[in-house]
Amino acid sequence: MITVHYFAGIRELTGTATEELSLSGKTVGQLKEELIKKYPSLQESSIQFAVNEEYALPAELLAAGDVVALIPPVSGG
């Protein structure tokens, strides 16, 4: 199982702050596809994926126990 955290506007789309998904062994890109299937409105938002507090590329593999965060655009500066 992996744990996925949602914040701010994304949380409003998903209706939940966090959920557990059995996607270990899949990639971040596959997770994104799954989530868009589940929450179609996610498609339009420009979100970053972080795995265990580091930004993750779509090819990165997910392992059991990973903590994934969907990060809405945050200010730089």
């Binding site: 955290h5 972080a50 990060i71 945050v74 730089g76």
Partner: protein
């Protein structure tokens, strides 16, 4: 997860506030206890940087230190520098004792949202940047010490010398009241 130390800043003079802010109460709980809980939830250990005369007032089992002698009383940069020198860690989360409305949910969200931090990530509200609610990737003790010894005590100036990102407080929690910094004794 990387080894993370929480730095609770509780050494301010609280002159505008009139009494040590760490021991002001909200809902019957000391400010410092609230902040400690928020840090403890997402850090491997928490170090409290305070002043000598306040030491006896804190719970005995806590990890309490005062500013290192050569940078003593030089403001928040000195507190952060002291903590980084005394406790090695891969990451540090800083929180001041006068933000008692920040809880474990907010520190947890902040930690996750700070993914990709190069040097420092801080929090900003529409009104202000809050440099002391921040996540630091690795120790900046030597840079801090140099700045302090050169008389540059401004936190903003120091952060401007690093790659600092700011996260909107509204992403962490919609209620901006959570990010209130209690400067005056008007509770």
């Amino acid at each position: 997860m990387r080894n993370t130390v929480g730095i609770l800043l509780a050494g301010g003079l609280s002159s505008r506030f009139g009494s040590p802010k760490a021991f002001a109460r909200v809902d019957g709980v000391y400010f410092y206890e609230k902040v400690y809980k928020a840090l403890d939830a997402v850090c491997d250990q928490v170090i409290i940087v305070t002043r000598e005369e306040l030491m006896p007032l804190f719970a005995k089992e806590l990890d309490l230190v005062t500013d290192l002698p050569d940078i003593k009383g030089q403001g928040p940069l000195a507190g952060i520098c002291t903590a980084m020198k005394l406790r090695q860690a891969a990451m540090y989360m800083v929180l001041p004792c006068d933000m008692p409305y920040i809880g474990p949910e907010e520190t947890n969200a902040f930690r996750q949202l700070a993914a990709g931090t190069k040097h420092v990530t801080g929090v900003q509200t529409p009104d202000e940047k809050i440099p002391l609610f921040s996540l630091w990737k690795g120790s900046f003790a030597e840079d801090l010490e140099r700045a302090i010894n050169n008389g540059n005590l401004s936190v903003f100036d120091f952060l401007a010398s690093l790659e600092t990102r700011w996260i909107d407080a509204s992403v962490i929690h919609q209620d901006q009241g959570k990010f209130r910094n209690i400067n005056r004794n008007t509770l």
